[in-house]
Amino acid sequence: MLVIKGLKKSFGDKDVLRGLDLTVPAGSIFGFIGKNGAGKTTTMKAILGLMKADGGSITVNGEDVVYGQTLTNKYIGYLPDVPEFYGFMTAREYLAFSAGISEMNCDNLSARIEELLTLVGLGEEKHRIKGYSRGMKQRLGIAQALLSEPLLLICDEPTSALDPVGRKEILDILLSLKGKTTVLFSTHILADVERICTDVAFLDGGVITLQGSPAEIKKKYRSDEYCIETECASHMELIAKQFPNVKISGETEATFSLADTELFAVMEFAASNRIPLPKLQRLEPSLESLFLEVKEK
């Protein structure tokens, strides 16, 4: 759906993008992760033809993106981090206006507008946009981005400015698009990515440092650490005495690494000493810890 090859962009002496390569498969919810200032918005503006790149190429649905021209934008719906609308219009007027300027063909535009407003929870809203809260604007932003049934929806940090309730609402809407629309979703909130994304890419130092599905990435960087829990402190003391490399993290909790402690030896010791283990679990790395790990490397 979206292919970026060798994208470069500098602002003065600062190289923001240094040959970024990125492929977004059709139908995916793609998390584009990077810290603030990493170049996520710059990349998105280049995809939209709003910012001139210093080098590289971008294709959307097989067509080249040309700076200053907006022909490939017919395939794209765009939701900026803080979407701004004409405050003098109502949501319905704005969506009808959006359909007009994008020359959208729709047999029943009114029905489509109502359908989208209902989807984003603004179906009953009759007031002008100037009175909307940030969350309402974000939801209207999604509605306008989806109006023309785009092949690719680009969301630039859609949840960063919202409270937890607003965040959940937006993520639920994006999740509901799974399989219907390809979503490129930039964020620095990794919990959001873990919740909804089928694919992720880490942007750091102007290049993609890691890309794949969250499961693949976690598998690749799978931890060899286990967490163990006993019912009482005395049981934990017995285990700690037998296995000196076990790290006690609480009265009844500890962790150990397969590098120095054998899993089956721990299980056999617990069984032979009749120590119940309510919990024995491999510690899965979070995307956040992976991001930090990759960044450090």
Binding site: L50, G68, N73, I76, E84, Y86, F88, F97, G100, I101
Partner: protein, 256 residues
């Protein structure tokens, strides 16, 4: 074409709901009424001030007013209307840059030249409507009170002034395509007008300066022929077309 019409409709809706149309039309209507009103009140005002004037050694003789007095006022007040118009319209692009609404529009796939032409058409209609409203009101009152035929080359003189206003409208467009803020646009328009005015101070180039078109009084008094303004009209017309055309590639290259 549909995108152009939709964007133009949006501009009109904005001008109506923001009250800009009302303010502009009211000011030009007021100016249109003020021109004959000031002419009509001039004898009364001078009579009221005659005592203080005589104390200062000035004698007020009988004052005769006619349509000429009113048209002189028209050309004195027209710059005021144009300044108000420019002040109100200078933010037509820059407000969209500042608020971020332009980004939302351009990502919808509308071609950028349509945005330029839609805003240009709205400003043109608004300037023309307001200016000719002011003219019609003054003309109507003048016809009622006096006789408009005393003013020579009336139609060319008011058309020339309208053309100068069109140039200012296009200057807003041009500077909006390259500048970021409203103040920069206003400074650009102001500096251009000042430059045109300075040109009129040099005899050799005076006849080519668009600022010459503001001198309607010389035409209605017969001090100049309408033909004498033709070089300035030609230069102004070329500038209007050239600046509009130049705004398109400049806006295309702009990073929003």
């Amino acid at each position: 074409m549909r995108s152009f019409i939709s964007f133009t409709k949006k501009e009109w809706l904005f001008h109506m709901r923001s009250g800009k149309i009302t303010v502009i039309l009211l000011i030009f209507l007021l100016l249109g009424i003020m021109n004959p009103a000031i002419a009509k009140l001039t004898p009364w005002m001078l009579e009221a001030m005659s005592e203080s004037l005589s104390e200062a050694g000035m004698t007020v003789s009988e004052v005769t007013v006619d349509a000429m007095t009113s048209w002189v006022q028209f050309f004195k007040n027209a710059p005021m209307g144009l300044i108000v118009f420019v002040l109100i319209e200078a933010s037509i692009f820059t407000d969209e840059y500042r608020m971020g609404t332009m980004v939302m529009i351009l990502t919808k796939g509308i071609k950028r030249y349509k945005v330029i032409l839609a805003k240009a058409s709205v400003m043109t209609v608004l300037w023309s409507g307001a200016y000719w409203l002011s003219f019609a009101v003054t003309y109507g009152y003048n016809s009622y009170f006096w006789d408009n035929s005393v003013a020579q080359s009336l139609i060319p003189s008011v058309v020339y002034w309208w053309l100068f206003g069109m140039l200012c409208t296009v200057l807003i467009l041009f500077f909006s395509a390259i500048m970021k803020g409203t103040t920069s646009v206003l400074l650009g328009v102001g500096a251009s007008v000042l430059f045109f005015y300075i040109l009129t101070l040099f005899a050799k180039v005076k006849k080519f300066s668009p600022a010459l078109l503001m001198d309607g009084n010389s035409l209605i008094y017969g001090a100049e022929d309408a033909e004498a303004y033709v070089p300035a009209v030609m230069v102004t017309s070329v500038l209007v077309l050239a600046l509009t055309a130049a705004s398109i590639p400049l806006f295309n290259k702009r990073q929003v």
